[in-house]
Amino acid sequence: MITQGAGYLRRKWSSRAMLILSGLGAGLCILILALILGYILFNGISYLNMDFLTQPAKPVGEAGGGMRDDIIGTFILVILGSAIALPVGLMAGVFLAEYGKPWAASAVRFAADILAGVPSIVVGVFAYAVLVRPMGSYSALSAGFALAIIMIPVVARTAEESMRLVPNSVREAALALGIPRWRAVVGVVIPGALTGIVTGIMLAVARIAGETAPLIFTALGSAFGYQGLDQPIGALPLQIYRYALSPYDDWQKQAWAAAFLLVIIVLGINIVVRLVSRRRRR
């Protein structure tokens, strides 16, 4: 009885110790998040001002200036990327959820998952080879193309998964009314899955808004603002990268302010979308 008790005590305490360690792991994750967000918010707010939002960038050596053009550039690139990615992603999602024969669907699904895992810098090199080189110029278009490739698999897979959640009885009811299958998909299944589809799209938008690696040699950055889709264009994350590595104190401060703005946009989308989709699901 006594030896058993001692063994039990040892097991009990080693169990406690391991459970506490696992709790520390979770705590460490939250601590890191708090540290990153804390620094971004604190530094960002102190360097953010109206000039930053409304002024174009100043050349090297001149104080002041802002990131107006890069903020606009990011919006243009996100819209461009979405315009290319949405039709492809949504239709592919419909194929996967509604039509795919098992082998064809799993091949496409596999390709989408693999494409989602391709490093974004490699996608950038691809966009450079396909668009920048033949066109002879860095361009907003090539950057939008790169962002679209990153976005497509995410949209396709989330659209598929939310359409799968629509019960089969709903499809059957629609078909029983005598409408053709495509009308049933467009008019009944997609509206039924809309919250999930929009959630996926918004999360993908948040992701590409912060993508930097594929923009370095597609969008390149521009000191003159938006000049057309076939010309270089600035973007917020690109400017954070450039300014953070620059030796100028003023630029580094602007990098913090830009990081603050980008975090607000990206996490804002994430939080709102998750709250809305969670409430709908209940």
Binding site: I40, P87, E98, A111, G117, V122, A244
Partner: protein, 326 residues
């Protein structure tokens, strides 16, 4: 509308076949459209491989396999080798995994097994937020906040206590492999945690109950029932994290110091495939130079492709197990 007409007059055969023909046409167009867009995803993937191969040809032709084993990078003489970049990519990813795996598994165990619902939900939510922060912002934070900390307390302490190991010798730079590894750990912790948590939650409760009924403590239950049951899923989660780490670009580029060299010391600046491409591609000129950078991208693509395929298969196997049992 058309159909209700045919229902009222079933004998009207011609109209019936006409509507179903039109309907079949609409269906066929829609189906083919979805098929084309779905196949486009496969085409992009294959196109990536072909295009990268084509653009890397000048370098492939000039260096052959020696590209992978050579460690020079000289744009003036046009001699390029990928070894330091491959070495740096693997080394920084391994450091990242060594730090991230215990933390992520701990966090996943806490969220899946221990935390009450009111705590595990916001906990998972916050960790997802960590995953959503753009890489360049983590890099900015790493460069200005983390690197000074790594230089002074961390590296000088490691150097004075573990300095007998070649890993921890040399002057503390701050930027370097260690900083890159820590940044990578921060970036892959959320993904490993999220997937592991999901895999653990897929373990049926009967497994846990059986273990507890045998008199196991809570940790023994996790260690002997939960973890072995989802081993392949957990391996998949870790390899998925490895895939992310290998291709991670911005944050690593900002803290690794960009020095094209192979060193044993974790403190010294280094380079990864992704950081090399990011920092030089827009300034490169000449077919061989650009081709070499594209070949680097190709190497990275193939490595991550293999890693991701392995991870997918492992996680899928786990989820089919889940489908069969629960």
């Amino acid at each position: 509308m058309q159909n209700s007409k045919t229902m009222q007059a079933p004998s009207h055969k011609r109209g019936n076949s006409g509507t179903s023909g039109a309907r079949r046409l609409g269906d066929r167009i829609f189906f083919n459209a979805t098929l084309i867009f779905a196949l486009l995803i496969v085409a992009i993937l294959i196109g990536l491989l072909i295009v990268l191969n084509m653009d890397a040809m000048p370098a492939i032709n000039k260096f052959g396999l020696a590209f992978l084993t050579d460690s020079s990078w000289d744009p003036v003489k046009e001699v390029f080798g990928a070894l330091p970049a491959i070495y740096g990519t693997l080394l920084s990813s391994i450091i990242g995994l060594v730090i991230a795996v215990p933390v992520s598994l701990g966090a996943a165990i806490f969220l899946a097994e221990l935390a009450p619902r009111w705590l595990s939900r916001p906990g998972s939510f916050l960790i997802e937020m960590l995953a959503a922060i753009p890489s360049v912002i983590i890099g900015l934070w790493g460069l200005f906040v983390m690197v000074p900390v790594i230089r002074n307390p961390v590296e000088s302490w490691l150097g004075s206590t573990l300095g007998f190991l070649p890993l921890f010798q040399g002057p503390p730079f701050g930027v370097g492999f260690l900083a890159a590894g820590v940044i990578l750990a921060i970036m892959i912790i959320p993904i490993i945690t999220a997937v592991s948590r999901e895999v653990m939650e897929a373990v049926p409760d009967t497994q846990r109950e059986a273990m507890l009924a045998l008199g196991a403590t809570r940790w023994e239950m996790i260690q002997k029932a939960v973890l072995p049951y989802c081993r392949s899923g957990l391996t998949g989660a870790i390899i998925l994290g490895l895939g992310r780490a290998l291709g991670e670009t911005m944050a690593v580029t900002m803290v690794i110091g960009n020095s094209y060299a192979i060193t044993e010391s974790l403190f010294s600046p280094g380079v990864t495939i992704a950081s090399k491409i990011a920092s030089e591609f827009s300034e490169a000129s000449g077919d061989v130079y650009i081709g070499s950078l594209v070949e680097l991208a190709l190497v990275l693509f193939v490595i991550t492709l293999l890693v991701n395929i392995i991870a997918r298969l492992l996680v899928w196997r786990m989820t089919t197990v889940k489908a069969v049992i629960g």
